[in-house]
Symmetry: C2
Subunit: 157 residues, 2 copies
DNA sequence: ATCCGACTGGTCAATCTGTGCAGCGGGGGT
DNA sequence: ACCCCCGCTGCACAGATTGACCAGTCGGAT
């Protein structure tokens, strides 16, 4: 998929004011409503826009501590470990990677003390050989997509 | 902040069907429309729901490669490094952490070859002493929040 | 020259939103 | 035991938005 400048502007607009409607968006972008509708449909069926899920802040839910854990897995235990971690709510995402570890996961916890519980929960599983954890102190760049969208839109013309 | 079961059900519903309106949501949850409106307002002003940004898939934008880089920073260069990385669109998020590295960032690239360019861009900066990169192969658990929301809602009663 | 896809600008009925209202009930404080 | 307050309900209203159409225009490709 490629996106053009109008797609880019639309996505940025949606990101900045998510509650905006199709009509208002068309006014802002200076195009007809039908165009915005068509673009949004296309972006969604292309999979560029997966959806408009609510952006929930774990900290506000009582989970202010974030950490990343690098896991080393016993050969052939990958599927079991995936299933195990998938069942732990505090595991927000899980990746299998190249490099020193075999997996990388993002964890949240209610406190530093609670993080110990979560780590025990995660690591206390047979297929996991070793784990090393990095606690997040600051988040200078929160998960963002706009700069990339803008670059992708530029590259198209 | 704490959330109750109704908040939890509302968030889950919004996550599953983001385009749903207040009226339809109230029907599904079996409560009055005003209640849903009040809950949504509260969740948003509490910061539990940050917004409803479009969920953009970098892969669909032409950036199918994801990697995590652990960076070691020269003493006192933190602010400069943050600013530098903030200016790179391919840096989707950045954290400062405890542990072996000093920072952890998520990168995307157009290809494995392109990843080299991105890494050079990221690392080619004076304040960065060393970097180690892990390329993501699979993503068994994509970023999710629902299980945590459900747990938080349970814990409340 | 012609076709085609994309965009425009307009209409239509149906629906949803924001807002305000009075009534009701339980939990908590006095 | 009593009363107050807050949250929820059910309802109403005007105004705005949506999804679905349509014919006309435009530029690029064949």
């Amino acid at each position: 998929m490629t996106i053009d400048r109008l797609d880019g502007r639309l996505i940025v607009l949606l990101a900045r004011e998510p509650r905006i409607g199709v009509l208002e968006a068309s006014r802002r972008l200076g195009v007809a409503r039908g165009t915005v509708q068509a673009r949004m449909d296309r972006l969604q069926s292309n999979g560029v826009i997966r959806g408009f899920g609510p952006d929930v802040d774990p900290a506000a839910l009582g989970y202010p501590v974030t950490a990343f854990a690098t896991l080393e897995i016993k050969q052939g235990q990958g599927a079991d470990v995936r299933a195990h971690l998938g069942g732990v709510p505090e595991v927000l995402e899980l990746h299998t990677t190249t490099g020193h570890g075999d997996m990388l996961c993002r964890l949240v916890a209610r406190s530093n003390a609670d993080l110990q519980r979560v780590i025990d929960l995660v690591v206390g599983f047979d297929g996991i050989v070793r784990a090393s954890t990095a606690i997040v102190m600051e988040n200078p760049v929160p998960l963002r997509i706009i700069p990339l969208v803008e670059q992708a839109a530029e590259d198209t013309d």
